[in-house]
């Protein structure tokens, strides 16, 4: 049962990270293609966005491994 729980947790975490990162990266690349001179600002915004999106999936993976290890 712990294994199933861990698999669901990691899977949903990966789905969330994938969708979130996809949206962020898509819009940033679009922005840089339109205005290449704003690259630094857009990269900074994207960096903070990617960091915030990935914080929760990492916690999900951590909890999955803790559940699996016990």
């Amino acid at each position: 049962m712990g294994l199933v729980a861990a698999a669901i947790a990691v899977g949903l975490a990966a789905v969330g990270a994938g969708i979130g990162n996809g949206l962020i990266v898509g819009r940033t690349v679009e922005g840089i293609a339109r205005q290449p001179e704003l690259r630094g600002t857009l990269q900074t915004t994207m960096f903070i966005g990617v960091a915030l999106v990935e914080a929760i999936p990492i916690i999900g993976v951590v909890i999955a491994f803790i559940v699996m290890g016990q």
């Binding site: 990691v10 975490a13 990966a14 990270a17 994938g18 990162n21 990266v25 940033t28 690349v29 840089i32 293609a33 290449p36 690259r39 630094g40 600002t41 857009l42 990269q43 900074t44 994207m46 960096f47 903070i48 990617v50 960091a51 915030l52 990935e54 914080a55 999936p57 990492i58 916690i59 993976v61 951590v62 491994f65 803790i66 290890g69």
Partner: protein, 120 residues
């Protein structure tokens, strides 16, 4: 240097200061396992930060020159979180598990505080 390069340098500097403080805490206080756990988590968190900065810089350069990049390294970062927990579970008497998880989250605090302080 542009704003992104400045931010990268600042964040690395703060992470080095934090790691130095944690080493001091490990060496000078009796809470060895807590500080060792925080140190393990922060070290892997620093790796995550470095990887994220590198991949995003490459993506920015590539999209400016209309080239392509291979992924953003999301799964490497998830795997480094898993590695920290596996190490902590394997050597349970040396690493405090909650401290490892808190250590993994330090980089997000650094990023948020840096953003809030320097957003102007």
């Amino acid at each position: 240097m542009d704003t992104f390069q400045h931010m990268i340098t600042r964040q690395r500097k703060w992470m080095f200061y934090l790691l130095a403080l944690l080493v001091l805490g490990w060496g000078l206080t009796p809470y060895k396992s807590v500080f060792l756990g925080l140190l393990l988590g922060s070290a892997l968190s620093f790796y995550n930060l470095w990887l994220m900065q590198r991949k995003i810089r490459k993506l920015g350069e590539a999209s400016g020159e209309s080239k392509s990049v291979k992924g953003l390294g999301t799964f490497s970062r998830l795997a480094s979180g898993a590695l920290a927990v596996v190490i902590a579970l394997q050597f349970e008497d040396h690493f405090h598990l909650i401290a490892v998880v808190l250590g993994l989250m330090t980089v997000y605090f650094v990023i948020m505080i840096d953003y809030l302080v320097y957003k102007g």
